[in-house]
């Protein structure tokens, strides 16, 4: 799988450019974070890759094929790529959770047994209790539960490419940890993930690389430790810094380009236990 965005410029009618000559290569199995201040074009970039906004110039190529070309076979594209929107309620239309998750499977002609098994697996994966929740209307869920359901609807068809727009917004601690662990598993199993997030802690925890957008242009496309290296620049770009990095800088701890929490604790342990020995 090779996903390329070449010289893509996108604007909504009469608006300024939302994306301005974007070039981006996404390789198979990559976990790419996308961040930047509100209104910088993150959601538009994700939705352009998903086939919702045809660039006024430039291309989006999946395995060399322009996804906006009429000849492009859209059904297989939808099976290969799934998106979870920023407002999950925008993607629900079935009367209960069971059928909402099953809908995607119906569209790719799974057998009834396979459909049932996969729906159960997806509910379990995102922490929706089957007996308690299967008959509940998607619209009766709390904000955080809707996010879990939207993710279940996406992962149930085992997409090659998963696009996520702020999947953690409004999620409680348990929910966040659960979704992070699901995403890590999917990443480990080879799913290519593109995730828009404002949270520098989450991004530095899961992303291989982070794209920082500013006014529709890519300012950074690099590993987390380099993206979050300069506090002044991070503040200017409105992306903040992970708490591991902030604390490490305050106490002069070298994290060796790994800003994850487990590495931070390991480094602290080494430093303070060594001092006590």
């Amino acid at each position: 799988m090779q996903l390329e965005i070449k010289h893509a410029t996108v604007r909504y009618s009469n608006s300024d450019k939302i994306l301005d000559n974007i070039d981006l290569n996404i390789t198979e199995g990559q976990f790419l974070g996308i961040t930047g201040k509100a209104g910088c074009g993150k959601t538009t970039l994700l939705e352009t890759i998903a086939g919702f906004h045809k660039p006024e110039s430039g291309f989006v190529l999946l395995d060399g094929q322009n996804i906006y070309e009429k000849r492009f076979v859209s059904q297989s594209f939808r099976k290969r790529l799934q998106i979870v929107f920023q407002f999950p309620e925008n993607q629900f239309f079935e009367s209960d959770i069971w059928n909402e998750i099953g809908f995607g499977l119906k569209n790719i002609s799974s057998s009834p047994e396979e459909k049932e098994r996969k729906t159960i697996e997806a509910m379990l994966a995102v922490g929706l209790d089957i007996n308690e929740m299967k008959n509940v209307s998607p619209f009766a869920l709390s904000g955080g539960q809707k996010r879990r359901l939207a993710l279940a609807c996406a992962i149930v068809v085992s997409p090659e490419i998963l696009l996520l727009d702020e999947p953690f917004s409004g999620l409680d601690g348990d929910g966040q940890n659960q979704i992070i662990s699901i995403l890590k598993d999917l990443h480990r199993n080879g799913t290519t993930i593109l995730m828009v997030s404002h949270d520098p802690n989450v991004l530095s925890e899961v992303a291989d690389k982070i794209v920082v957008l500013d006014a529709g242009k890519i300012q950074f496309n690099d590993i987390p430790s380099r993206v979050f290296a300069d506090k002044y620049l991070c503040d200017k770009l409105g992306i903040g810094q992970p708490e591991t990095k902030i604390t490490a800088d305050l106490i002069g701890l070298d994290l060796d380009e790994d800003l994850t929490y487990s590495n931070f604790i390991k480094k602290l342990e080494k430093k303070y236990l060594a001092a006590h020995d």
Binding site: Y12, S15, T35, G36, K37, A38, G39, C40, K42, T43, Q86, F87, E89, V136, A140, L141, S142, G143, G144, Q145, D165, E166, S169, G170, L171, D172, G173, D174, G175, Q176, H198, P200, N201, D235, G238, I239, G240, E243, I246, T247, L250, I251, Y261, F264, I265, L268, E269, Y272, L273, A275
Partner: protein
Amino acid sequence: MINVSNISFTYNNNKKIIENISLSIEPGKVTAILGKNGSGKSTLVRLILALLPISDGKIYIDDIDINCKEGINQIRKQCGIVFQNPDNHFVSPIIEDDIKFGLTNHHVPETIQSDCVKSALDKVSLTGYEKRNVSTLSGGQKQKAAAAGILAVDNSIIFFDEATSMLDPNGRKELQLCIEDLRNQNKTIVIISQNIEDVLHADKILLISDHQIIKSGSARDILTDYETLKGAGIQIPFPVQVYHDLFQKGIKMKNCPLTSGELAEELCSLK
């Protein structure tokens, strides 16, 4: 002052969402409500704002029962809410018209409405966005515009229901400053958020679990109580998690820190 006395609530599926909750929201203070997804936080706020009928119990605003016309009028007059989903706010596609709708309802003279709109948009860093169509805004900008609509109106009690969930770190800080500003103006603030930074400066935190309030206290009391937060499924503040994890490894800080600065101080004093 809002007093909630022994309220319970069930939706049509008979599942209890709120069970015998009592609380008071003190004037001029910032009260935060923490609880995991589906714990009933938003339902509780909707009950207080008389947007849902109470099954059992009573809610009073300034000693007036909200279950009557006078009580509902008081609620509508005094309270404003920034909802979780900003799309639920807008009644007009143009930002200026949308904010003016609220001002007109609060009898703000038309001659000063444009100034009120400008000042509210300045507060959330959307200066010059008066004529923008809401549909052209990003999620975070919509949240800011929705907050501006509430900040423009001179409510004495303001609820923020996950109002920063889509904001970037700078936008979050701006809204926190707005809340600080409102506190200085003696407004009553109620914050519902999963983000610890949003509730760090609250005067009081109410922790909800299993449809009931299980603990209330100062931000420090609640947010440094690792076991209770963990049990309630709440995100543990980063410094508290570090304190706990190092303790497990035999490294003991003197005090449990709550901010990055405090954490750095505690770590440095370990040397």
